[in-house]
């Protein structure tokens, strides 16, 4: 970073606040604009002054600019706030503004690829937030979250672009919801402080709720409630577990912290470990979703507008799997390892098989795609439970794949829905004659979803099945699990191909379909990057795998360590704290507060 660039970024918040402030007043003089702008800049200054003093700064890595993640996460939020002051009357401008912010965000996030993803945290940034409770603003990425961040920044602009094509009412609210949701999702992927993670995790709920409830279908309100309350129950149980772990850490180490690095060192007493693991898993498994918590998903998907469905399928569900890998496996390795065999059986029987069979029987294409998500996420979770290198890498790749292919499928369903206002399979037939491009693209994405070699789906599913077969975490059942999962792939072909056959081939019976127009420019433009990615991952998976492998190894090492400790009786005699090892995985470890300020707050002599 050159000094000039540094100065520019230092000054940027003030300038931005000034500009936003100056734009706020309607029909006013230059002087007034100037005054409000100065107030804006001053309030940024006040905010900076109020912010608690920074903790020990992390040593800066040469090729990593520490503010990059901050820029990526907060750009959508700043955009959302700026959007509030833009005129509602010009929807075109609002749409362009939103797409610009999202596109710029994607561009900036590409710089994350510049760093070599070695073991440990990258682009780490830490500052004190609420010192009296030991809460820090701590963000960083590793090889796991890197891809989740990129998946998010890649998918949301497409979803927004598609949504702007079909949604005609309340554009401003829609743009606001998109930007807020985008920022919250990114924040949840990069947060390493559990409080911060929880804040972003909950922040996602409201915009998604609005997206389903405002722009959804006929049953939208019921679906919105269902989505909100299911997720809320899970997150409340997670909150209880977080507080318990934080408190246990406080009793052992003598200082409060919500930091993931510190809390993952806590070995809880056995029962408590099981309960806390259950609290966390409930939140994540509802989000994934895993049977029997999946019932919110078909409703939410069917009712949500196309853009909302794409985000829901491509990113929101991934937060469940990501959370499970990061927090459940990272903090409660023992219980997670012991539950893995049972849960793997569950996701095979009730995810891969049941999900696929239910999908097969659906009349509504969108519902079919929704249930196929249950089946695909079953594969992802299976790879995670298998906990082998190829299993977890396959699961991560499959997360990206599912984001791409189910996002594309929802987009395609949206295309036909915009034309016919129905999604019932029986209404269609022989569409390939009138919409050749559409049919070709649909079949291509179907191939990717089924996992035909050469497409992305094949690589992911193959690695997951291989990892499962070779897993020694699943005990005696690993071969059975692997075999059954492979058999499950056939079911995917059954339901996807049968719907393709019914919709696109055969005679064109329904007259309403005779004059449908093919995909338009907007839809093709939105599809193009998704198709490109299908083949990119399909042919060059190592581009992705290379960057994640070190982090996956690190995650698995700790998982296996925790599992061994658990079987040797860790936690049987009450809570304990594991030793710190140092090394790249523990840079930024929270230290006990030694400043006078914290001490003063503790004994209450000095108010402020």
């Amino acid at each position: 970073m050159s000094p000039a660039a540094r100065a520019f970024f230092e000054a940027a918040p003030y300038v931005a606040a000034f500009v936003i402030g100056a734009l706020i007043p309607r029909r006013s003089s230059v002087l007034e604009r100037l005054a409000v702008g100065i107030v804006g800049a001053l309030s940024v200054l006040a905010l900076k002054g109020l912010w608690p003093d920074a903790a020990a700064p992390v040593t800066e890595k040469a090729d990593e600019w520490p503010h990059l993640l901050n820029v990526v996460v907060f750009m959508p939020f700043v955009g959302a706030i700026a959007l509030l002051f833009l005129p509602r009357q010009s929807p075109k401008f609002l749409q362009r503004f939103t797409l610009t912010v999202l596109g710029l965000n994607f561009f900036v996030s590409l710089f994350l690829l510049g760093a070599t993803m070695t073991r440990g945290w990258h682009f780490q940034y830490i500052t004190e937030w609420i010192p009296s409770l030991g809460i820090r603003y701590h963000v960083a990425i590793d090889g796991v979250s890197l891809w989740m961040v990129l998946l998010t920044t890649f998918t949301t602009p497409i979803a927004a672009y598609v949504a702007f094509g079909s949604v005609r009412k309340r554009i401003k609210d829609l743009c606001f919801a998109f930007l807020l949701l985008h920022g919250a999702m990114l924040g949840a992927f990069v947060a390493l402080d559990l409080f911060l993670f929880f804040v972003f995790w909950e922040l996602m709920l409201i915009p998604m709720l609005l997206m389903i409830g405002v722009w959804g279908g006929l049953e939208r309100i019921k679906a919105a409630y269902k989505f909100f309350l299911y997720t809320m129950i899970g997150s409340m149980m997670m909150l209880a577990a977080i507080l318990y772990v934080v408190w246990t850490h406080y009793e052992l180490a003598g200082y409060l912290t919500f930091d993931y690095l510190a809390l993952s060192k806590v070995t809880l007493p056995r029962t408590a470990a099981w309960l806390c693991y259950a609290g966390f898993s409930l939140a994540f498994l509802i989000k994934v979703p895993v049977f029997p918590f999946h019932t919110w998903l078909p409703d939410a998907h069917v009712q949500a507008p196309t853009g909302g469905s794409i985000i829901l399928a491509a990113v929101l569900l991934k937060l469940g799997t990501y959370g499970y890998i990061r927090f459940c496996m990272g903090m409660f390795a023992g219980p997670a390892a012991h539950a893995a065999t049972t849960l793997a059986g569950l996701v095979i029987a009730m995810g891969i098989f049941y999900g696929a069979l239910v999908a097969w029987k659906q009349d509504d294409v969108k519902r079919l795609v929704a249930y196929s998500s249950v089946a695909h996420m079953g594969f992802v979770m299976l790879g995670v439970f298998a906990a082998t290198q190829s299993g977890v890498e396959g699961a991560l790749l499959q997360m990206i794949n599912h984001g791409v292919s189910s996002g594309a499928l929802f987009l395609l369903v949206g295309v036909i829905y915009d034309r016919r206002h129905t999604r019932m399979v029986r209404e269609f037939g022989g569409l390939a004659k009138v919409m050749p491009v559409y049919a070709a693209v649909f079949i291509l994405i179907t191939m990717s979803s089924i996992g035909v070699p050469g497409t992305n789906g094949f690589v992911g599913e193959f690695m997951v099945i291989m990892g499962t077969f070779a897993s020694n975490h699943l005990g005696a059942f690993s071969h059975l699990h692997g075999g059954l999962a492979a058999a499950g792939v056939i079911l995917a072909a059954v339901y996807m191909l049968s719907v393709v056959q019914k919709m696109f081939f055969g005679p064109l019976t329904n007259e309403k379909n005779a004059n449908l127009s093919d995909m338009n420019v907007r839809e093709s433009v939105a599809m193009a990057p998704l198709i490109a990615l299908v083949f990119l991952i399909g042919f060059f998976p190592s581009l992705f795998l290379n960057r994640m492998s070190d982090s996956v190894t690190a995650t698995l090492d700790r998982y296996i360590e925790g599992r061994i400790a658990w079987s040797q009786g860790a936690g049987a005699e009450g809570a304990s704290l594991r030793e710190r090892r140092g090394g790249p995985l523990e840079t930024g470890y929270p230290l006990p507060p030694s400043s006078t300020r914290a001490v003063a707050a503790m004994d209450g002599k000095e108010a402020h």
Binding site: V199, V214, L239, A601, A607, H608
Partner: protein
């Protein structure tokens, strides 16, 4: 500050009592202004002219205060915010450095605890005054006495939080309550308001009598009236002395808890709450929901932790914690379930305030086991004050003369037609529901953290389950505002235009967002304000 001035006991005495004095003197001035000021004729005539039209259920009232509610509101708000600012000043100097105030002890204890509460109730009162400044003229109930009464009620609430003696406690309680009874019945031609006021008055007097009886029993058992003295006397009881007095003390404890739980509005002493809250003018409702409740919790904390601090009474076997835990659980479950069934938003907010009393009581129960719990209760009350007043304020903003927004149906389509007002309303409701990054979330988190510290895991789990149930009905308002349209021909809410209400909402919103994102200063203050800290 000049050192000689600082050392003068008289000045320091004035300084120590400045938050209370500001309200007392200000209230008197306001009363004079109200009594001797001239009514604005034009407004009065206009009101009369409107009164000639077919009268609504509220009727019209033209009195000496007509047309001047706005000025009086400004005056009351200035007085109340001055009280809040004096509290901050006193806090920064440190009440423990102002030794001169020991002369009013134990009748008024000026410690960090009472200064914190003084700030919270003054803030609540000030915002309520601003809301009233918009609400009363809009709904043609320009009764000038509203504002002096509001100031005196806040004064009572302040004094209640500072009371260290059974006598001053009772006097302060009645100062606060009598004023609120009048404020509830302000709309005197409305049957519903009269019912609300009468119900509240009768039940409130009954509760006050119970408390008085409890206080008398305590005096009988210990021969003391100051809280600390009673606490010591109880701690000193053993053997034969205890034998004869145990029943007396336990009955006194029960009576005091009943009386205060009534003021807090916790289940099963909540029966008056929905009716009184619904019948009262909305600014009064907001004031009752925050200031009265806050002061009652403050005095409850002081009574429990000073008078009944003895470990025999603070234990889970024989003391108050299981009683309060039961009240907390009942309050949360019953209020949340009933709130979900309401059709009126105002009534829903009334039940929600009962449910919030339940969350507060979780913190109060935890004080028996963890020091941090007190701070969590204090912080929670602060966040609850700003969120609740904001929600009531947004409800006021959504209504016009004769078209007060009451039911969910009234709010249908509000989000599309009036995005800014709807956004404000959603924001406060989200805070009440406890979704980050708002103050309400942080308050809840802190209370639950304290309860986990006190190993009250089951209470935390029940509280969290209730947060989910609670989210449902707050969400319902959002659903109606953003996702439904009014039925064809049905009346829909049009927001009123009032700088007062807008200002109040901006103040509340700043606090909600500030406490949600940078709560550190307030947290440290709450930690420093604990009793015996």
């Amino acid at each position: 500050m000049d050192t000689s001035l600082m050392s003068s006991p008289g000045v320091m005495m004035l300084f120590g009592l400045s938050p209370i004095l500001a309200l007392g003197l200000g209230g008197l001035l306001l009363m004079l202004a109200e009594a001797f000021g001239r009514p604005v004729v034009a407004h009065a005539l206009e009101a009369q002219a409107i009164g000639a039209q077919p009268a609504g259920p509220e009727g019209q009232i033209v009195d000496a205060g007509a047309g001047r509610a706005a000025e009086l509101a400004l005056g009351a708000a200035v007085i109340l915010f001055a009280g809040a600012i004096f509290s901050v000043a006193l806090w920064l100097v440190g009440p423990e450095n102002v030794t001169a105030t020991e002369r009013v002890a134990p009748y008024l204890l000026i410690d960090r605890f009472s200064v914190f509460f003084s700030f919270v109730v003054c803030l609540g009162g000030g915002i309520a005054a601003l809301l009233a400044g918009g609400y009363l003229p809009e709904h043609r109930i320009e009764r000038g006495e509203f504002f002096p009464l509001l100031v005196f009620c806040t004064l009572g609430a302040q004094a209640l939080a500072a009371a260290g003696d059974l006598l001053s406690l009772f006097v302060a309680l009645e100062t606060m309550s009598l004023g609120v009874y009048c404020l509830v019945g302000l709309r005197r031609t409305s049957v519903r308001a009269s019912e609300a006021a009468l119900k509240y008055f009768l039940l409130g007097s009954f509760a006050a009598a119970l408390m008085l009886f409890g206080a008398a029993l305590l005096y009988g058992a210990t021969g003391r009236t100051d809280l600390a003295g009673i606490g010591e006397a109880i701690a000193g009881l053993s053997g034969d002395g205890l034998e004869g007095r145990a029943a007396q003390i336990l009955i006194a404890l029960a009576l005091l808890i009943v009386g205060l739980a009534f003021k807090v509005g916790a289940v099963p002493f909540h029966m008056w709450t929905p009716d009184a809250y619904e019948g009262a003018p909305t600014p009064t409702t907001g004031f009752m929901a925050v200031a009265v409740k806050t002061a009652a919790v403050a005095v409850l904390l002081r009574v429990l932790l000073v008078v009944f601090a003895d470990e025999r009474l603070g234990s889970w076997g024989t003391g108050w914690p299981p009683v309060l835990a039961t009240i907390a659980v009942l309050s949360m479950f019953i209020a949340n379930f009933i709130a979900g069934r309401q059709e009126s938003v105002k009534r829903m907010l009334a039940y929600s305030s009962i449910a919030h009393a339940g969350y507060v009581f979780i913190g109060v129960v935890a004080t028996s086991r963890s020091v941090d719990a007190q701070a969590s209760v204090l912080f929670y009350l602060l966040t609850y004050t700003v969120s609740t007043l904001g929600a009531f304020g947004a409800l006021i903003l959504a209504g016009r003369y004769r078209a007060e927004a009451v039911s969910y149906e009234d709010l249908a389509g509000f989000g599309r037609r009036h995005p800014a007002a709807a956004l404000a309303f959603s924001f406060f409701l989200i805070s009440l529901a406890g979704v980050p990054p708002t103050a309400g979330f942080f308050g809840k988190l802190y209370v639950f953290k304290a309860a986990i510290q006190g190993e009250l895991y089951w209470l935390v789990v029940l509280g969290l389950i209730n947060s989910v149930i609670g989210a449902y009905y707050y969400l319902k308002v959002l659903v109606f505002m953003y996702m439904r349209e009014p039925k064809p021909g049905a009346p829909f809410a049009t927001p009123m235009r009032s700088g007062y209400v807008a200002t109040a909402l901006v103040i509340a919103a700043c606090f909600v967002l500030g406490l949600g994102i940078l709560p550190d200063t307030a947290l440290e203050a709450a930690v420093a304000a604990v009793l015996g800290g």
